[in-house]
Symmetry: none
Subunit: 383 residues, 2 copies
DNA sequence: TCTCATTTGTTCGAGTTTGAACGTTTCAGA
DNA sequence: TCTGAAACGTTCAAACTCGAACAAATGAGA
C-alpha cells in the first residue's frame, strides 16, 4: 500500500483546517501518524504538517512525539488542562484488520466516542474465530470494558461457537459489518452492517441504465463481503430479466501476477463470447488491475468494457477513474458506537437494534456512456 | 474546472441571500470552497464573497479559513459554543389506524419529538394505498412539513406505485413497520420495523424448550404483519426439524362468532389428530378468544394446549394469562423520529438507515410447563 | 424625479500561509 | 558514552489573502 506516492491532491489543495481535520481522521483511524507519511499523503511539506501538529497539540487534541503525533495520551504531561469529565464507559473494539477497510470504521467510531464521551480500545485481530476470541478475552481480562464492538469471523463451526459465546457475554455486544445467521441463538446481539447486496444491485442497475444488457461479476471469494455482493448481483440480474446462467461469474481469489493476467484474459474472452459489455468487480484494487489489463490489451474502457468497482479505496486513481460502490465505513463505526452508547444508557428495556446502511454509488468515467459495438458482439454471440 | 469563465449571471445578478444559498450549496457539495473560485463562478468580486463568508461564519454556518470556507468544523474554536439548534422542523406522520397498535407507536414518536424539538402532525388513514397518498398529499399541501413518517399500504400495484411516489418526494421519508421490497426503486426510503419473523421464531423456540414437539400457527391474513409471522414460524420449524407439512397452519380471517367457534373446533380437532400441543396465535385478541374456546371445551391450557399470542395488547386479560410476543411499538415511533431528526440535521451525506427492532417474549401462564399426555400424543402420532 | 440606505467594486497596505535553507536537538544503535 | 541520521525549529522570502477606506451602482420610498 505504499503506492500512495501520488498525492491525492492532484489538482486541489486543502485548507489548513481541512488538513488538520484530515490529520485527526488519520489519527483516529490508526492511533498514530508520522509527519513524513502525512506530508506525502497530503502533498505538502513536512514543515507544514509539523506546524499543524503543533497547533493541534496546543489545543490538546494530539500528543506530540518525535516523528509524528498520537492520540492524546494520559502520559503526555502537557495536556493536563482540558479534561472536563472522565470517560463514562470503556468500549472494546476488535476488528479483523488495521490496514484495510477498518481504519475508516475505527475513525468513525472514535469520532462518535468523543461526542458520547466514551473511551475506545481498539485491537486488531486475524480473520479467524479463535484469534477473535483471544483478543476479546484479553480486553475483558485486562481492560475492564463495559461494552464490545466486534467484527467476528463467522465461518465454520468455530464461527458459530464464537457467536454463541459472544451472545452469552455479560456485557452488551454490537457487531460491525456482520449479521448473525438465523439458526444461531443470538437474540442479544445487535449489529450495524452495510447492505452490500443492495450496493451490488445499485451498480448493476446503473450499468443497465447506461445501456448494458449483459453484466458480469468478478469476485474475490476470500473476502467475507463477497457472498453478499454476489447475491445482490444475482438478484438484480433476476429483476432485470438478464439470464443468470449466461452471465459471467468469475472468481480470482489467490491469483498473483502472471496467473492473474491469464485469468483476466480468460475473463475478457468470456465477455467477448457472451456479449458481456460490463463487469462488476469486487474489491476496487482488483478493479484497478482489471482496468489496467483492459487498457493494456487495447480494450476500450468504458467504450467496450464498462467497469464498476466494489469498494472505493483506490478506484479514483485508475485511468480512467473507476466508478465504485462506496460503503459508508465511517458510519458503520459511528452507528456502532451510537448503538452501544444507547444500550449502556437504556439497559435491557431497549429492544435489540439491527441496522442496515446503504452504500453509495460514485459514478466516474469507467462506466459512463452506452456500450460500443453491441452489434459486433451480438454477431459473435450468435456463432 | 476553471472553465466556468462565463459567469452564470449572464442575465440577472443574484441577491445576496441567493448568493449565500448558492455558496452553502457548493459547500455541502464539496466540503470546502475558495473565495476565488466562487467569485469567478458567481461573477462577483472576491470581496463580496468574503463578506458573505463572514456573515455565514457569524451565524456558525461555515468555518472561515484563509482563502475560503469549509463546513463547520469541530476544530474551529470560534464556533464551538453556539449550538442553539434553533431550527425546529415539522414532521408529518400518517398511520393506518388510530385505535389499534399505532397509538403506542405515535406515543413513542411524540416523546422523542419533544426531546428533539420537533413538531409532529399525525393523521390516521385507511389500510389502503389511495387513501395513504391522499393523506400525505394533504399534509404536504397544507402543513408545510419537512419530513414524513408513514406506514403505507404496500399491497398490489397501487402499493408499488405509492412506494415509488414516496421515494421521489422532495422531503425525507421514514417508513414505520414497513420494508420496501427489493424490486422497487426505493433507494432513498429509510425505515424502522419490528422483526416479526424473529418474534415468531422466538415464540416457537420457547415452546420447543417447554417440551412441545408439534407447534401450529393460527393467523389472520388480513393483517400486514401476518406473512412475517408465518415466515418466522416456518423458519423456526425448519431449524428445529419439525416437519412443516404435518404442522397446522390455519387462517381465521373474516370469521365471526358462530363461524369462528366452528373453525376453532376444527383447529382443535386437527391438533388432536396431529399431536400438536402448542399454537402460536396471531393477534392476541384472537389468542384470547382461542383460549376462551379451549377452556369452554374443557381443553386444559397450558396442560393440553399451550398458547403464545402474537402481539401484547390484551393478552394479560385472559384466564389463564397468555404468553405473548410484544413488538416494541414505542420504540418503532421513537426510532423513526430519531432517524428523521438525524436525516434533517445531516442531510444527504448520511447513508440510508434501515433498522430492525426485535420484539420481546412475555412469558405468562398459557405456555408454561411441559405438555401433558405426550405419551398419548406420540402414540397417536405414530399411527 | 430625487434622496437615502444598502450593496457591491477597486485599491492598497497589512497579515497569513507555505516552503527552502540551515543550524540545533533527539533518537537509536554501536 | 559516542555518533550519524533523522527530526525539529528558526529565519526569511515569496505568494497569496484579507479588510479598511472610499467610490460606484442599485433599489425603495417620498
Amino acid at each position: 500500500m505504499s503506492s500512495e506516492q501520488t498525492p491525492e491532491t492532484a489538482g486541489k489543495s486543502l485548507f489548513s483546517l481541512q488538513r488538520r481535520e484530515r490529520l485527526m481522521e488519520e489519527l483516529r483511524a490508526h492511533g498514530a501518524i508520522t509527519v513524513r507519511d502525512i506530508a506525502a499523503k497530503l502533498g505538502v511539506s513536512e514543515l507544514t504538517i509539523r506546524r499543524d501538529v503543533n497547533t493541534l497539540a496546543d489545543e490538546g487534541l494530539v500528543s506530540r512525539v518525535h516523528g509524528g503525533a498520537t492520540l492524546p495520551s494520559p502520559l503526555d504531561r502537557s495536556v493536563s488542562v482540558g479534561r472536563p469529565s472522565a470517560h463514562s464507559y470503556s468500549i472494546g473494539m476488535v476488528v479483523p484488520s488495521l490496514d484495510y477497510y477498518w481504519p475508516q470504521v475505527i475513525s468513525g467510531a472514535r469520532g462518535e466516542a468523543e461526542v458520547q464521551n466514551l473511551r475506545i480500545l481498539v485491537r486488531g485481530s486475524a480473520y479467524d474465530a479463535a484469534d477473535n476470541r483471544r483478543q476479546v478475552q484479553a480486553l475483558l481480562d485486562t481492560q475492564n470494558i463495559d461494552g464490545l464492538i466486534v467484527a467476528p469471523d463467522m465461518s465454520g463451526d468455530h464461527g458459530k461457537e464464537l457467536l454463541r459465546w459472544l451472545n452469552a457475554l455479560p456485557i452488551p455486544v454490537v457487531m460491525a459489518e456482520r449479521r448473525a445467521p438465523l439458526e444461531i441463538p443470538s437474540h442479544r446481539l445487535e449489529w450495524v452492517a452495510t447492505d452490500h447486496s443492495f450496493g451490488a444491485g445499485m451498480a448493476v442497475r446503473h450499468l443497465w441504465q447506461e445501456g448494458h444488457r449483459m453484466i458480469g461479476c468478478l469476485t474475490d471469494s476470500t473476502s467475507p463481503t463477497s457472498p453478499h455482493v454476489v447475491r445482490g448481483w444475482k438478484q438484480a440480474l433476476a429483476a432485470l430479466k438478464i439470464p443468470l446462467e449466461k452471465s459471467i461469474h468469475e472468481d480470482s481469489a489467490k491469483l498473483d501476477n502472471g496467473d492473474r493476467a491469464k485469468h483476466f484474459d480468460h475473463v475478457l474472452e468470456l465477455c467477448r463470447s457472451t456479449g458481456t459489455t460490463a463487469m462488476l468487480v469486487h474489491s476496487d484494487t482488483q478493479a484497478v488491475a482489471f482496468v489496467q489489463h483492459c487498457v493494456d490489451r487495447g480494450v476500450d474502457v468504458p467504450g467496450s468494457m464498462a467497469i464498476v468497482g466494489y469498494d472505493d479505496e483506490v478506484a479514483y486513481l485508475a485511468e480512467p477513474a473507476i466508478s465504485a460502490v462506496r460503503p459508508p465505513k465511517n458510519y458503520v463505526g459511528k452507528v456502532a458506537v451510537q448503538l452501544m452508547a444507547a444500550r449502556l444508557a437504556e439497559g435491557r428495556m431497549r429492544p435489540v437494534h439491527r441496522i442496515d446502511l446503504n452504500p453509495e454509488l460514485i459514478v466516474r468515467d469507467s462506466s459512463l456512456g452506452a456500450p460500443r459495438g453491441v452489434a459486433d458482439v451480438l454477431l459473435e454471440d450468435s456463432l
